[in-house]
């Protein structure tokens, strides 16, 4: 092996080995263990079984999965509804202002979601700022209980994940060729038609990317319902956490994790199909 090949081998090998050891092997373990029997002593044991997947669709647990899907779906729609107009206006801001505005989205993107969730706790709690303002201005006489409600969980999820929706949307909207919009207008399209037939299709890859980046994490962020929702509201994330740390049911927790992985594969698959079709249309 000559010197160049040696360096190449080293550079490729340590990365591949790392991913193989700490991503691939553990990932396969999750899938494998989800098909084994629960065992109190050694966490799991032979024989292979489908019982954990059957349990997942059992009404009791299917309700947890369903609830979590509803939370994620609503969070994604809320983020899209708030984030799309925001990203559009941002991409149409004067060019000299855009870097600063973009920076202001990137900062919360990187800031710890736990710290930001905690900031919401302070704001929403019974003797928190919002109640102080409401009572001070005489709008309410008793503190409104906002913490530990469904609304608080939604606020928390949207607050944490909104930047993940905005950034991919902004990336496609900023690159969009505005001459297409002008052309559509010249040809007599009204505002709504321009949006539905030109802007929306062109921003589809951004919408899809943003939705994936919000939908998937929204299923797993267990500390948000923990801190904002009390114990009633449960995401798949809370469920998996409990299987591993409270009841030590590795196979069941693994099966729920496989459900999340399948969801990820499904969404990425749709994304690649869409973006392939999109790119083909672009070149036509």
């Amino acid at each position: 092996m000559n010197e160049r090949q040696g360096f190449k081998f080293f550079a490729v090998f340590i990365n591949m080995a790392w991913f193989a050891l700490f991503v691939l092997v553990p990932g396969l373990m999750v899938v494998g263990i989800s098909f084994l029997t629960r065992d109190m002593g050694s966490f799991f044991a032979w024989p292979p079984t489908l019982v954990h997947y059957k349990e997942l669709v059992d009404p009791v647990y299917a309700k947890v999965l369903g609830n979590s899907l509803v939370y994620s779906l609503n969070t994604t729609l809320l983020c899209l509804g708030i984030g799309y107009p925001f990203a559009w206006f941002l991409s149409r801001a004067p060019a000299y202002r855009r870097p600063l505005l973009l920076m202001m989205v990137i900062i919360p993107f990187w800031t710890s979601s736990l710290i930001r969730t905690y900031a919401l706790v302070i704001l929403l709690k019974a003797n928190g700022i919002i109640n102080a303002v409401l009572m001070g201005s005489g709008i309410v006489s008793e503190p409104v209980s906002m913490l530990y409600t469904d609304v608080a969980v939604y606020v928390g999820l949207v607050y944490s994940l909104l930047p993940f929706m905005i950034l991919p949307l902004y990336a496609v909207l900023e690159k969009m060729d505005l001459r297409l919009v002008e052309a559509a207008r010249d040809l007599g399209a009204n505002g709504l038609q321009v949006f539905v037939h030109v802007v929306l299709p062109l921003s589809l890859p951004g919408i899809m990317a943003g939705c994936i980046m919000v939908f998937l994490p929204a299923m797993g962020l267990f500390y948000i319902p923990d801190l904002l929702g009390g114990a009633k509201t449960m995401l798949v994330g809370n469920f998996i956490k409990n299987q591993f740390l409270t009841t030590s049911n590795w196979p069941f927790g693994s099966a729920a994790s496989v459900f999340l992985l399948l969801l990820m594969v499904l969404m990425l698959g749709i994304y690649f199909l869409l973006s392939n079709r999109f790119n083909r249309n672009q070149t036509l």
Binding site: G6, W18, S112, P217, L227
Partner: protein
């Protein structure tokens, strides 16, 4: 009319994103312990924070994990990005596939899968398991960031160096590395913040003997809010702010 709609929508969303953080920071300087009423400016909670040995220990642990894991991830990831940009090798596509699937896969799945790996391998949870987990989730970010930078420059530079007799080692350290240094530093800073902020993955791979700050904050907030946490979160936020702004500046520099 349309302009005003735009400005007010953007302002409202920014108020939503920054309002709670601003309140948190302001109240970390509030004298009062139990009420939200303003009782005067004070550094009380910062002082009591620095007298709280448990919190300080957790903070130092977090800094150590973040520093070492981001450094290791940056070194490995830079080599990896160099390899995928300059070499053809079997499994190059698989490599990219792994990088992206790690970035996209839910944190909780990585957390439980590493937990099972460490338990079955008989490795005691603590510093080493945290370090390994943090390197794993930082690595893809470094690779993607540095790869973007490497693919942006002229390959003939490397050919010229090789023609002039540079060894592969020299090509990497004397030609490529200086050119991609801003992206490498940005990758390091962003890995540092990722590591410092992580809750979900750390939650599963941490051990009783080695507490880190985000998990400490998590358990404190579950028990009830204390003003010390306000001060702590303010410090953490400012740290993230500084790292992200520096990283952003470094990434922008390259485009000029």
């Amino acid at each position: 009319m349309k302009r005003w709609m735009g400005i007010s929508w953007v302002s409202l969303v920014f108020a939503f994103l920054y309002g709670p953080l601003l309140v948190l920071m302001v109240f970390s300087f509030n004298q009062a312990r139990y009420t939200t009423a303003w009782q005067g400016f004070s550094f009380t909670w910062y002082t009591s924070l620095f007298e709280n040995q448990h919190l300080l220990d957790a903070f130092v642990n977090s800094l150590i994990v973040a520093f070492v894991s981001s450094l290791a991830a940056t070194a490995m990831g830079t080599l990896g990005a160099f390899a995928v940009s300059w070499y053809r090798f079997a499994g190059r596509k698989i490599f990219f596939g792994l990088v992206y699937s790690v970035m996209m896969s839910p944190d909780i799945v990585m957390g439980i899968s590493l937990l099972m790996l460490f338990v079955l391998a008989g490795i005691h949870p603590g510093f080493l398991t945290l370090l390994t987990a943090h390197i794993t989730f930082c690595l893809p970010f470094v690779i993607v960031l540095v790869h973007a930078r490497i693919s942006g420059f002229d390959p003939s530079v490397v050919d010229a160096a090789r023609d002039l007799g540079a060894k592969e080692y020299d090509v990497f350290f004397k030609i490529i590395l200086p050119m991609i240094l801003p992206a490498v530093l940005a990758g390091w800073l962003l890995s540092f913040t990722l590591s410092l902020d992580d809750v979900i993955i750390s939650f599963f791979v941490t051990g009783p003997g080695f507490e880190i700050l985000p998990l400490k904050i998590y358990s404190m907030v579950k028990l009830g809010v204390t003003p010390e946490v306000n001060a702590l979160c303010t410090i953490l936020f400012l740290l993230t702010l500084a790292a992200v702004m520096t990283a952003h500046f470094l990434i922008k520099e390259k485009k000029k």
